[in-house]
């Protein structure tokens, strides 16, 4: 959230994220096609769409882990591969959960890039880690082994690590999956509270209702962008049908149109 990130000087006039006609091929087939959008500092974008719509591909490309086949990505005016101020939380963090570490240890890992090779973490690094824990409300669990955390606490820990990293852009891939309703809303209001401080958020998610309530901007995706804008403009019956096809059931009701995702069977755990 600082003006400049470690190792890179930002163009302060450039938007936080700018994606122009982005296409990513996977095994010769487009996983993502012709996506464009821009986010100013502190904006929050929800990326929604059916499974396989390219949500994860989009986030990986923004994180600089997947190369665009065509089009450009700019984060504060620079290609994404050059940033330490960009944090990516994958859907299932490929983390060694047996690793002997406390919550504070993991959050301190956010400072490793800034500290640089062969340098020890300083008192200032520890202060930043504690501030990050404070912001996500995990200070009381700082010395708890990571194996003892609940799903929601794990997500908060990784967000704290991103904050300790002084990230300016936070990419989250379906962080709400597996959380109970209370933890979901807790996480979303936490992120909402961070955006006035300049944190730009891109979140892939399935929960359309939460996207509509907590995000000022939504991108509806099915390989190609189907709609982009405020939730009310995006979630039209026509756009939803185009994105979800027969998986979606639209019912007229007193409160407007009601969208049902899986009307048949409960989701497998």
């Amino acid at each position: 959230m600082s003006e400049r990130c470690v190792g890179v000087v930002h163009d302060p006039r450039a938007p936080a994220v700018e994606v122009h006609r982005l296409t990513v091929l996977r095994n010769g087939r487009p996983a993502l096609e012709d996506v464009s959008f821009r986010l100013e500092r502190g904006e929050r974008l929800a990326v929604v769409g059916p499974n396989g719509a390219g949500k994860t591909t989009l986030l990986s490309a923004l994180a600089g882990l997947v190369r665009p086949s065509a089009g450009t990505i700019r984060v504060f005016g620079l290609p994404p591969g050059r940033h330490r101020c960009l944090a990516y939380l994958p859907q299932r963090p490929a983390v060694e959960w047996n690793f002997p570490a406390t919550v504070l240890d993991v959050v301190l890992m956010g400072r490793v890039g800034a500290a640089g090779l062969l340098r020890r973490l300083t008192r200032q690094d520890r202060t930043k880690a504690w501030q990050a824990l404070e912001q996500v409300g995990l200070s009381s669990l700082a010395h708890r082994p990571i194996q003892e955390l609940s799903g929601g606490e794990q997500q908060r820990m990784f967000i704290a690590r991103a904050l300790a990293q002084e990230t300016a852009v936070l990419l989250l891939d379906e962080p709400l999956t597996g959380l109970d309703a209370q933890a979901q809303e807790g996480l979303l209001s936490l992120l909402g509270g961070l955006s006035p401080r300049g944190l730009t958020v891109v979140m892939a998610m399935h929960e359309l209702d939460l996207a509509a309530r907590y995000f000022p901007k939504v991108l509806l995706l099915r390989t190609r962008p189907i709609a982009l804008g405020a939730p009310l403009e995006v979630f039209t019956p026509q756009a939803l049908r185009e994105a979800y096809g027969t998986a979606l059931h639209l019912l007229p009701s007193g409160e407007g149109t009601l969208a049902l995702g899986e009307a048949c069977c409960p989701k497998e755990p």
Partner: protein
């Protein structure tokens, strides 16, 4: 003299015993340090393969420089580093699963080693030394090598501690921080190769894996954070080296086996805690 003091002091009058003791302690501590990272990454099978794959190098050094133990040492080190990098490359782009690729390299190299040694008449005695170590025959020069390499390994791990820890815990995050994750994976393999060669002197090819795996496993049972785990692993390994040699001295047991038995004893005691 107090009998307990006498028990520990008596063997120290032999210079060979002191050298063996120092070699065993430093090699064990280095193995435990690198082994902890291998165990956390689930790379222990690779460590085992590495230890066995060193045998043809040892055999070649032995055949080409008959009698020179130091030459054998360098040959072993070279083979171990080549193999570790080779396994890294094969497992990365091969169509086989990693453990299959490792298994093939492992048995192939081991067979080649035994085959080479068996061409020498009266090979059985020498083969036993390579397979089970011969720490009581460590020369002063060998001791300096073992201690120098062990210290080097521990220093490298200390210098890159936070990067190694991060790349072990969350490689993807390390990549987004632009840390050289692949380089560190290979570095860890090379460090493992170096420690295996030091362990070779103490416990031999067959038991080198024990020194990479058992003390870290003990450490993981005691420590809640990585520094603690490393301290417990290194401490229990060094103590195993120390007590193992006394066990070997008084029970007339092969020193390598005695060291591994003590380390395993520590692990079992830790389980009961």
């Amino acid at each position: 003299m107090n009998p307990l003091v006498e028990f520990f002091v008596a063997p120290l009058q032999h210079a060979f015993f002191v050298r063996a003791l120092l070699a065993a302690i430093s090699a064990a501590a280095a193995c435990a340090t690198v082994g902890t990272f291998l165990v956390l990454r689930g790379m222990t099978f690779l460590g085992d393969a590495l230890a066995h794959a060193v045998l043809p190098g040892v055999a070649l050094g032995y055949l080409l420089h008959r009698g020179s133990r130091t030459a054998v040492f360098w040959w072993a080190l070279g083979t171990a580093i080549l193999t570790s990098l080779g396994i890294g490359a094969v497992s990365k782009r091969g169509r086989l699963k990693e453990d299959t690729a490792i298994g093939i390299v492992f048995v192939g190299m081991f067979a080649l080693g035994i085959g080479l040694i068996s061409t020498v008449r009266g090979y059985a005695v020498d083969l036993v030394h390579f397979l089970f170590g011969n720490v009581l025959a460590v020369s002063p020069f060998d001791l300096y090598l073992v201690m120098g390499l062990s210290a080097g390994v521990v220093l490298v791990v200390c210098a890159l501690y936070k990067e190694l820890a991060l790349a072990t815990f969350d490689p993807l995050f390390a990549r987004t921080l632009r840390l050289p994750v692949e380089f560190m994976r290979h570095l860890l393999l090379v460090l493992a190769a170096v420690t295996v060669v030091t362990a070779l002197r103490v416990v031999g090819v067959a038991l080198a894996l024990a020194m990479l795996v058992v003390p870290p496993a003990t450490g993981l049972l005691w420590g809640r954070r990585l520094p603690g785990v490393l301290a417990w692993a290194g401490g229990s390994a060094a103590l195993s080296g120390f007590l193992g040699l006394y066990l070997s001295y008084y029970a007339g047991m092969a020193p390598g086996a005695a060291v591994v038995l003590v380390a395993t004893g520590f692990f079992l005691l830790s389980l009961l805690r």
